[in-house]
């Protein structure tokens, strides 16, 4: 038996969560949404749709896009994306700690 959970921010649908957080981390490192998607075996199409949906729900841009050029272009985090990720990262980490602590408290002896 194990504990499972999903936590997300919602605004007329999922607006941010662990998946997007991870994806954007990779975009930041790689400078490209398509590279980031590829790294986790997600199609670019899927990643693009995800980011677009989130931006609509959040009401601000997560990525600054550049199209064309010798490297084809790229995507980079906006300042607002960084702020959100910073908050969400801390929130997520502390949430995990809290839930695991409670799980141990109540389900220590296997059920």
């Amino acid at each position: 038996m194990k504990l499972c959970y999903k936590i997300w921010l919602d605004n007329n649908g999922k607006a941010f969560g662990e998946g997007p957080y991870d994806l954007l981390k990779r975009v930041d490192r790689l400078g490209s949404l398509s590279k980031a998607a590829r790294e986790i075996n997600m199609s670019y199409n899927q990643a693009w749709k995800l980011i677009n949906m989130l931006e609509k729900r959040l009401g601000f841009k997560l990525l600054q896009r550049e199209v064309g050029g010798s490297q084809g272009g790229g995507s980079f985090l906006t300042e607002e994306a960084r702020e959100l990720m910073d908050k969400y990262g801390k929130f997520s980490r502390e949430s995990e700690e809290a839930l695991n602590k409670l799980y141990q408290k109540y389900f220590l002896n296997d059920i």
Copy 2:
């Protein structure tokens, strides 16, 4: 923007969570799975499949069933179901508190 989350126990698939907890609470009050299901606009079929799945994954019975008789029969919580629900209820309540506190800490000023 609001916080959303789902928390569940897993053992080769979802083995217990908020939905089953609520359903079993009603079974306890009504003495019938079909009545409990009806109360939350869930088909009996659906409720039955749910409970059966949970029992398989948990490895013990949640309901003691009685078939036939003037009232048709009924379902009643097993002792193990009561113990699990007691633990889960407290765990769930404290988890909610903890998560809401963390959400306020990080996302107080609307994003």
